[in-house]
Chain length 590, copies 2
């Protein structure tokens, strides 16, 4: 080792001892006679002093060439900082190293992205990604990647203690087109054939259960060739697990334990178990979303029946033609939102499909005031006020539209108002389960049922009969973990009965030939003694974001891709040689 | 949970208690009145008894349908086995479960590959791979995958304790054609461009050191599109690590500790540290191989000077024209190998380039006897005998050829004779380091220097000058871990000085433009304060093979590919839809 200690290690108790440190010059201050350097490594920062008489003149002279990001090795005596010079913000702030030996290990050009811990201006993201080797030196990035390391290690340890076995599943797999696009890999040995990168290890982990592995876990890289949204990456990491001889409660139970452990470890929070569970139907009813942010109230209230009684055409026509009129009560929101503010809210909900926003302010005497109030009889206004628990100063906001639009628009509105009115402490964390999702969603365009999760999801035992009679009412053994309104994981109990699997396939319009082509091996495996099994996958990138309080997924990944799916540091994807393509038997044809 | 215990858990102390087990019917014996079932899961096997009076008649009747690999749930009382019926080979062999409750969880067709623990015949590998869900049920496969899990966990824990940080590097990277072929992934967003799957995280881990991560570790999936040898897979797993502010000894030191820990944990061996080290030159001189099997002697001895003095033309002409005459002494091998046996050895060495094998048997009186003996003066024979420490009964075997051919042929011969004469206990494990590899190898065909490891490898400090004067004599800071004659890992200290990197590139004929195209980002990163750093990668599949005493790499991997790089279970690689290729802007052209 070129050092005896790291830059985060020296303390009062080392005073008087000799130490050798290596690191990067974070900053330096030339005091004429000598030089003060803040020396940085992953572990911290230590003040290093080049000053006579400890430091010899030749070393002082040499030290004058030091610039930001030079890499040095220094030996010296650990000394107490002069009185009044201690730095309580640094773990090493009581001491400094008085240099007696020095070696310049490497120079640095002036960095286009400053890793300096106190740099004020965050350079633009493109520059950061291009020079990721410098950006990753920033203490904030290092903290995040260390958090990521601890979260993953915490997950691995948790499941190892519960007898899970870590099994690696292939990256070069078989394409089973459904849902997202696969990334393809042309085969050279079997020219004209292609491997696909896995969207998840779903089929392999089910195979592992059928092969008797009982409890499987893997930190798995997954791939989706989708048009990227801000929070999506072409490759992402999941904590993937599967268990045999269990039901939904058992899977949620092992995750509950994990949440409690990691929340304590990383955030110092005491999370009570079991985590709260709400059904999908309740989540949609109360919040309009299947992954609701439960850090605050501001719940949706259905007023369709009351709206039907009004003379306000927008309300009555929607209410009487199968639509919904739903509202939220922004408590004390009357002061927060002026008429102009309400106009802005109205514009805000339009991209979610709402044609407008109806509103009432609650006056000091309890009456509801609005430009549309004249269309409502006083008794009706009273009923509406009672339904929404209106109190003086409240602001009542209504969307009248299809059920889906009221969900989307009002959930988005709720989130906006919740943040603007500071209805929750951004540092609190809410962990909860949403359960009993519908098995199927009706695709209005294609006029057919599609799987809400995936075609291997099991219905609830009591709903087997509904497969034949009312698929839309059939609920699945499905559970999503929601943290602060983000889906942080999702899983299901799988079908282990070949007959039920057959029935679900046929409901989804997957005929025997297609089923055989896509997952024939899974269907065969089902016939040789498949145990009851199920599992879950947690989105690790998302967990890092939530636990780190970050708002950019790219800050949670060491070498992320841009929204154009390119790596600005390496230039991937890039050109390849014609010879390579020839060997693969493929040709570019734009 | 559908069970209270696993099938490997019940012991004497549970006698009298009630338990519920789930598992697979490994075997069953119908005794007319009732049924004995060996119930199997990943954890073990338990005898389950369907017999009156404990078991009700309806359950006994139902149990009669049970066949191999049916999945069942049974509840009953744990009882001592009748006297004389205990099975000491089973951990649960003292007890049995007398069934009172029963549920058939799933049926099974007759399995084409029997998971039965006592199945005598190993089905052919093709069938096993096709029905991997059944093959993976075999206890031998489960033991191997659990060994793999423990080895990887042991590695992760070891490095986490040493402050290494686990960082995930991208799978979708940039193609840098050199060495093996890359697997390519066409980009849809940037049509005509390609990602490449990483052959190793080499460049990323060096970037991480330049970014100050200090100690990095990852269990990394790597990919090589090579023509597959028996022990190669298109995707394989490496324990990949890199350290900063260190030299070769430090890297070898952390691996030494790992070897000691895992050898104790898995094999009960006490390995003394530091592991022995021999230089590349010594390894080639004494064994003819850079990853020698050190479990036994049978070393190569150079007899070129003596051969030059003989009248045996084959020897003298090789010896006087720059070739080598080298030999091994198979102690007491005279009895093992008849004339016909020696003829077989002669045929054996030919594929390694040797034109033949010269031999002497040592007679009881110490004289060397051979068909070629007449070409050697008695004093010369005596000198040869002395050089080879010949004793009565020994067999001396010579190859006269280029240095390279003598190495290859005699090393292969040594391995063959070592195994046939049982010169070592196959259960012993020898761990050692081979160090100080040459920096460069001269490619006779292309008439140029090629890198022995990779172009980022650092020369030894004392050899920097040789880069200019005698590259062939320049030795690298390189170290390979060798277990029983298999390369189980390899690493180097990297160049951190841009000037030396430039010099090495130019020696390798990599001009500035090519260097910029392939690893421009690494060269740029080198200019912003790269620390001294180096690392190593361990071949995990190989470790599992060696620690598990296995001889087939496919038995060490859950879902391996065949030598034709295909997955017989899923059918990967497979056909894809024309629409998929169109979106990617590529076309198959065979």
């Amino acid at each position: 080792m070129l050092r005896t200690h790291t830059c985060g290690e020296l303390r009062r108790e080392h005073i008087g001892k000799e130490a050798t440190l290596c690191g990067w010059v974070d900053s330096y201050r030339d005091h004429g006679g000598g030089l003060f350097v803040d020396l940085r490594d992953r572990y911290g920062m230590t003040q290093v002093v080049f000053n006579p008489p400890d430091t010899s003149q030749p070393i002082i002279d040499e030290s004058k060439q030091l610039r930001a990001e030079y890499v040095i090795q220094v030996t010296g005596k650990v000394a107490e900082r002069p009185s009044g010079m201690a730095n309580s913000r640094l773990a090493t702030g009581d001491i400094e190293l008085r240099v007696t030996g020095f070696k310049l290990l490497n120079k640095s050009l002036t960095p286009p992205v400053s890793p300096n811990a106190h740099a004020q201006d965050m350079p633009n993201e493109e520059l950061r990604l291009e020079h990721r080797y410098l950006d990753l030196r920033r203490p904030a990035m290092q903290q995040t990647l260390m958090l990521r390391d601890r979260l993953i290690k915490g997950m691995r340890d948790h499941f190892a203690n519960l007898n899970f076995i870590d099994v690696e599943t292939p990256i070069l797999g078989r394409s089973t087109p459904e849902g997202a696009r696969d990334y393809l890999v042309p085969s050279r040995v079997s020219r004209g054939s292609f491997y696909a990168l896995p969207q998840s290890p779903q089929l392999y982990k089910q195979i592992l259960m059928m092969a008797g592995y009982d409890r499987y876990v893997q930190v798995a890289r997954c791939f989706r060739d989708e048009d990227l949204r801000a929070d999506r990456q072409p490759e992402f990491t999941q904590l993937d697990l599967e268990m045999s001889f269990i039901d939904s409660d058992d899977v949620m139970g092992v995750i509950d334990g994990l949440v409690q452990k990691l929340a304590k470890q990383e955030l110092g929070l005491d999370v009570k178990l079991p985590l709260p569970r709400i059904t999908y139907d309740e989540a949609m009813e109360r919040f309009g979303h299947d992954a609701p942010d439960l850090r605050f109230g501001l719940e949706l209230v259905d007023c369709t029946d009351l709206a039907a009684k009004s003379d306000f055409r927008v309300f009555s026509s929607v209410a009487t033609s199968g639509g919904k009129v739903r509202a939220i009560n922004a408590k004390k929101g009357g002061e927060n939102y002026s008429r102009r503010g309400i106009d802005e809210l109205t514009e805000f909900v339009k991209p979610f499909g709402a044609k407008g926003l109806a509103w009432f302010k609650v006056e000091a005497d309890g009456t509801l005031q609005s430009t549309i109030a004249k269309n409502f009889k006083p008794e009706l206004l009273k009923e509406i006020g009672t339904r929404l628990k209106a109190e003086p100063g409240d602001l009542l906001l209504f969307v009248a539209d299809t059920w889906k639009v009221t969900c989307k628009a009002l959930y988005a509105l709720r989130q906006k108002i919740g943040a603007e009115m500071k209805l929750y402490d951004p540092k609190t964390m809410n962990f909860s389960w949403v359960v009993e999702f519908p098995m199927f969603d009706f695709d209005d365009e294609e006029k057919r049922w599609v799987a809400m999760h995936h075609p291997f999801t099991s219905p609830r035992d009591q709903d087997f009969g509904l497969l034949d009679t009312d698929p839309g009412a059939c609920r699945a053994k499905a559970y999503d973990l929601v943290i602060n309104g983000s889906e942080a994981g999702g899983g299901t109990i799988r079908i282990h009965d070949p007959g039920i699997q057959q029935k679900v396939f046929s409901l989804l319009g997957i005929d025997e030939k297609t089923a055989e082509e896509r997952f024939g091996f899974l269907l065969r495996a089902l016939k040789y003694g498949a145990p009851p099994h199920g599992g879950i996958a947690l989105g690790i990138d998302r967990w890092v974001m939530l636990f780190g309080g970050l708002d950019n997924i790219r800050d949670c990944i060491a070498f992320p891709k841009t929204q154009r799916a390119s790596d600005l540091m390496t230039g991937a994807p890039g050109d390849v040689e014609t010879k390579q393509l020839k060997e693969l038997g493929i040709k570019v044809e734009l």
